[in-house]
Structures are given as C-alpha cells and as structure tokens.
C-alpha cells in the first residue's frame, strides 16, 4: 500500500506524517483505544455490591470499588433492605411481597423465607449462630411492626417486640451476638433498641450526644468497636449522615458524625440503608429532592464528604445495599 493510499484510507484513524528523511520509518497510524470497561467481566472471587431498587423491582450488582455494573437481576417485588451472610449469599427483603429473597453471589435467587406477619424492611445476619434477623416495618390491620429471628436463616421465625416501638427498620449484630435495631415510636420519634445475646427480652437504648431523626442503617463497626447508625433526615433536613455510638450499659452516646455529600457537593437527599466496607461507607441516594439523579456512592469513612466513586445510570429509587464476598 502506498503512503497516499494509506492516508486516504485512514480518514478515521489519526494519522501523523513526519518528514524525517529517506532513512526514517513512517509512523504507524494510532491504534483505536480499547472500549471502556463499563460492564465488568464476572469474576466470582471479587467482592460485589448488591443494590436493591423498589422503583424498578430490580437488584443491581456492581463491582467494587469502581462501581461497574455487572448485572441487573429481576424477579423481585418491592426489594428493600439487604444483608449478607458468611457464604457470600445476600438476603433482600421484599416489602409488600412479605418475602425475604436469598441470592447467591452470582445474583441468582436461590431461596426465600416467608414473612406472613408484616412488611419486612431490614435484615441482619448473625455469623455466630447463622440466625437471620428481619425487621418488619409494620403490619397490616393497623398493627405495629416487629423483630423476627429466623433460626439458622430458615423458618418459622420467633417474634419479638419492643413495647414502645411501632415501626421497625434496620438492624445489625455486634461481634458478641447482641442485635441492635432501630425504628420509630407510634408518634414518629426515632428509637434504638437491643435484643441481647441469649435473651428473649428487648430493651430500648437511649441515645445521647445528639439527635437522630429518622432511622437508617445499623451496623457494628469492628474498627471502632462502636455501633454505626444512619439518619435519613440529618439535622431534620433532607440530608443523610451516620453516627458512631459508643454502647455502654444500655445507652448509646454519639461520638462521631459522618456527613456525606453527593456528586455535586450537595447533601445526600436520602441514603436509606448503607454498609461499611474496607474503610468506606457505601450507599445509595434516593433523590426525591430533585437535585440530581439517584445514584450509588462510595465515601471515605469515617471522613465522609465528597464521594470517591458514584454510579447514576441505573438507579431509580435505590434502597438498600449489601456486600457479597465469596
């Protein structure tokens, strides 16, 4: 092929000619850039992020930490809170379906638990016993929600309640096997409660050092040895934050507040249920505030602030997240 022909054919590819003398080697046309790896190849040994979206009745699977969309799973009804077990399986509550779905690390629905007594919202897995705790937000017939413990993550569950609590939202186990869970009273006030290990009685945990307005995530942070509780209405505004609480003698004292921001530096309208992982706080922003599209974020923890990664092309009304590690 002559140089003239090569130039003619290379209308798309960048071509550079350098007059360098009769002994110079003509530059090769630049190779086209490799396509961006927006959809990662499935690699079953990596941690994956599962995000529930009741707006689309789907669960998205993203890679970590770059949030590449791996898969979109369907077959859910109102998927909400999530938790993961030590096998890499992810449990996803289906609110109006009164079902808790069990997903494999590959995103396949491999089982479910029935919840006939109410609308499941959050869940928590106890690695010591294999029990699955499910928080029923509320029940039909004007009745309050409840805490259900499925022994070894199978039915039927045992039901617990906190006498002052009406709505039951999210929960998390500490390393000793105590279960902490949040919610609200019938009047709408935030509540934190505990089901101690080997106990059949729940008790309210008083919160000091600040005010939590609307129940969010509950997770034990082994790094700080504190309970992390989310607030969907930080400072009673359409903003999200999480608090570290030092738990002692049935009381929770707020020690650290982590405020998170969206991709444009504004408040996160509503992070319903996030998760801590590898020094990061991961969660989705259900943006009913209208400031930007709903998205999933990674933030440095406990610093918070600007996200280190975000993904906004999939999420509609994102709700809960969980990490699956196989």
């Amino acid at each position: 092929m002559s140089l003239t022909e090569r130039l003619t054919r290379s209308a798309i590819l960048p071509v550079v000619l350098v007059l360098a003398g009769c002994n110079a080697t003509p530059l090769q046309p630049a190779m086209p850039a490799a396509p961006s790896a927006e959809r990662a190849t499935k690699s079953y040994s990596e941690p994956w992020l599962f995000v529930s979206d009741p707006g689309t009745d789907e669960v998205y699977i993203y890679s970590l930490p770059k949030l590449y969309l791996i898969e979109v799973d369907q077959g859910f009804t109102q998927p909400q809170g999530e938790c993961s077990d030590t096998n890499g399986d992810v449990w996803v509550t289906g609110g109006s379906a009164k079902t808790i779905y069990k997903l494999s690390h590959s995103g396949e629905i491999i089982g479910h638990l029935s919840d006939t007594s109410g609308y499941p919202d959050g869940c928590a897995y106890d690695p010591k016993t294999g029990n699955l705790a499910v928080l029923n937000l509320l029940a039909p017939n004007s009745k309050s929600g409840a805490l259900l413990i499925y022994p070894h993550a199978s039915g039927p569950p045992k039901t617990y309640s906190n006498k002052d609590q009406f709505f039951y939202n999210f929960g998390g186990y500490d390393s000793a096997g105590d279960l902490f869970f949040d919610g609200r009273s019938a009047q709408g006030a935030f509540m934190l409660a505990e089901l101690p290990v080997n106990s059949s009685e729940t008790k309210t945990v008083s919160v000091s050092g600040g005010t939590i307005y609307y129940p969010g995530m509950v997770q034990w942070d082994t790094a700080s040895n504190r309970l992390v509780v989310g607030d969907q209405r930080c400072a009673n505004e359409a903003a999200s934050c999480v608090y570290q609480l030092a738990i002692e003698s049935g009381e929770g004292a707020i020690k650290v507040q982590t405020t998170v921001k969206n991709s444009t530096g504004g408040p996160v309208c509503d992070m319903i249920q996030g998760v801590l992982w590898d020094g990061r706080l991961i969660g989705s922003n259900f943006d009913f505030c209208g400031s930007e599209p709903s998205a999933t974020y990674l933030w440095p923890y406990p610093t918070g602030g600007q996200p280190t990664a975000h993904k906004s092309t999939s999420d509609s009304e994102p709700f809960g997240v969980a990490i699956s590690v196989e």
């Binding site: 009741p54 707006g55 109102q78 909400q80 609110g95 109006s96 609308y119 937000l137 509320l138 039909p140 017939n141 004007s142 709505f167 019938a186 009047q187 709408g188 969907q232 209405r233 505004e237 359409a238 509503d270 319903i272 259900f286 009913f288 505030c289 209208g290 400031s291 009304e317 709700f319």
Partner: protein
C-alpha cells in the same frame, strides 16, 4: 357535578336502617334561621361548636353543627365548590373549580379571610400541613394543558407547581402529620387511580404504588384522601388505610362501612386529637334518588350511627370538619 363523574349505581336493595338517635329538627332550624336572600349567614352560636362544611352542587357550602347535625349557616358566591380542607386553627378552605380560586374562611365566619387566585388551573382537593401551614392544592388542568400540585407556602403568596408525567390531572391530596403529601389523579382518560408522594423537604413528586387488600387490587374510583392521625385514608367507596414510607406504599386495612343501596364517598375523618387516630368517619352517601351525609364509627365502621339528609335535600360533593377552639 362530581357525583355524575363517579357514575356508579347499585341496585336499590333498601336503605340502611335509620340510626337509633334523636335527630335535631334540621328543617325547623332552616325556617327560623335562613334569610330570604342568598347572602352568607351563620348562627352566632356556631363559633363555639365543631362544624361540618358540605360543598353542594348548587354552588353553596352548607354548614352544620357536627354533633347535633343542625344547619347553622351557608356560604354563598361559589360557582363550583369542590374540595375542602381545614388548618389547625379551624380555618376552612373551599376550592371553587370553575372560578379557579380557593376561598378561606375563619371557623364559623361568613366573610372570606382570603381569596387565592389559582388560575389558570381548576382546584379540587386541598390540604394544609399542620407543621408549616403550607397549603397544597390538587389542580386539574382547567385553562392550562396539564394539572399539578400547587404548594402555597404558609397558604399565601406565589405557589410552587409540581407536575408528574404519569398524572396529567390531580384531584385529591392530603398531608400527614410529618408534612409528607400524598396525591391522586382524577378518572378522566384513565381506568385506574394513580398516586404520587411528595415527602417533606422533597423537590419532586414520586410515583408510588399503593397495594390494596388483595394482590390483584386496583384503585378504581378514588374520590378523596385524608389523614386519620396515623395513616392516609383512600376513599374508594370504602375508607382504606395505607402508609407510604421511604417512597414505598403499604396496605394497612379498611373500614367496612355499611352503605347498601348506594355508593359512599368522599369521606372525612373526625379527629380532635392530632396525636391519635380519628374516631368517626363522615361521608357522602348517594342513592339513585337522593343523597345523604352519614356518620360511622372509625376505624371499626359498621352501620351508620347518624345522618343528615333525611328531612332536607342535599347535593353533597365534598365535606370537611372544622373544630372549635378547645380551651
């Protein structure tokens, strides 16, 4: 006339049994108190009492004592009074759809405190947020191309309009005690009712699916939405309780009101303690030949416990309860 839009007619199987109570002589009250000319009027004793305001198809709003069910006043100068709502001071807002306005009255007042120009839209349902005093108005398109939810801050001034791509015309709306708003459409051009949720602090309407009593449930003919102190109540021939939390709808239950021989709705929940659930539901009951306003226990429902309309002609379209100032 709104009742014609609803259009459902059931075979006459007999009226509900008259409730066992002693009714106040409403017709006698009218002949003694009602003036001959169509000016607004109100008994002076009305101010101390809980009042039931009824928008009527003839362009008037009639006012009854809630408990005694005695006619004690009339508000006039409306063309098409439709939805009504009330704020925590007991002020009553009446939407006049044809005139594209909302008129505010003090409890037992006859002169408007304020007239809000809502043109070019046609206002129907309304609700006042207890926490902020914001007035939300469910607008049909009227003279515009599309309806919306208009939120007037502090019930005055320039509203902010919120539209929804799935709901071209809004009909009903209600705030809960936390300041979240639930709204629904009218039935024009649609076989089912759709709902939108506007949370406190929010910036847009979010479409929400409300489950019903069965998996295959569809909302056919929603004629109103109220807040009963704990749950939203959807008027769809019966009062159904629902909840919306984090943008997700939940079905709570319904009040089985006995209303044979006609159709019931819209309703209003009587509640004199905003921290508790309401204790009675009052609603329009339409038979083929006449209309009533019935009272039922709430949330238990059952047979009517009282009525208005046995001795007088009513054309009720909507209603609201304005509580007297409590000591």
């Amino acid at each position: 006339m709104r009742l014609l839009l609803i259009g459902a007619v059931l075979a006459t199987t007999g009226c509900a049994s008259p409730p066992s109570y002693v009714a106040a002589p409403a017709s006698q009250s009218m002949s003694l108190e009602r003036p001959n000319h169509r000016h607004a009027w109100m008994n002076v004793s009305a101010k101390k009492l809980d009042l039931l305001y009824i928008s009527e198809a003839d362009g008037e709003v009639t006012v009854y004592t809630y408990w005694q069910r005695t006619l004690v006043g009339e508000l006039t100068d409306f063309y098409q009074p439709q939805g009504e709502c009330v704020d925590k001071a007991g002020n009553v807002y009446v939407t006049d759809s044809f005139e594209r306005r909302i008129v505010e009255y003090a409890h037992a007042g006859t002169k408007p405190l304020r007239t809000i120009d809502d043109s070019p839209y046609a206002p129907y349902g309304c609700s006042v947020a207890a926490s902020t005093g914001d007035l939300a108005v469910a607008n049909e398109a009227g003279g515009a191309s599309k309806g919306n939810i208009a939120i007037y801050p502090g019930a005055s001034g320039t509203p902010t309009y919120y539209t929804d791509k799935n709901i071209p015309n809004f009909r009903d709306c209600a705030y809960n005690s936390g300041g979240d708003l639930l709204a629904s459409n009218d039935q024009q051009g649609s076989d089912v009712s759709s709902f939108a949720w506007f949370p406190t602090g929010g910036g847009r309407l979010i479409n929400v699916t409300l489950p019903g009593p069965s998996p295959s449930w569809t909302w056919k003919d929603v004629t109103g939405i109220q807040w009963d102190g704990k749950y939203w109540v959807i008027d769809d021939y019966q009062p159904y309780r629902v909840s919306v939390i984090d943008g997700q709808g939940y079905y709570i239950g319904f009040t089985p009101i006995e209303a044979s021989g006609g159709t019931a709705g819209p309703f209003w929940i009587y509640n004199d303690d905003p921290t508790e659930q309401g204790t009675q539901v009052v609603g329009v009951f339409s038979e083929p030949s006449r209309d009533y306003v019935y009272y039922w226990d709430y949330p238990s429902g059952g047979a009517p416990i009282a009525e208005i309309g046995k001795d007088i002609s009513l054309q009720p379209v909507a209603l609201t309860v304005s509580l007297s100032a409590k000591p």
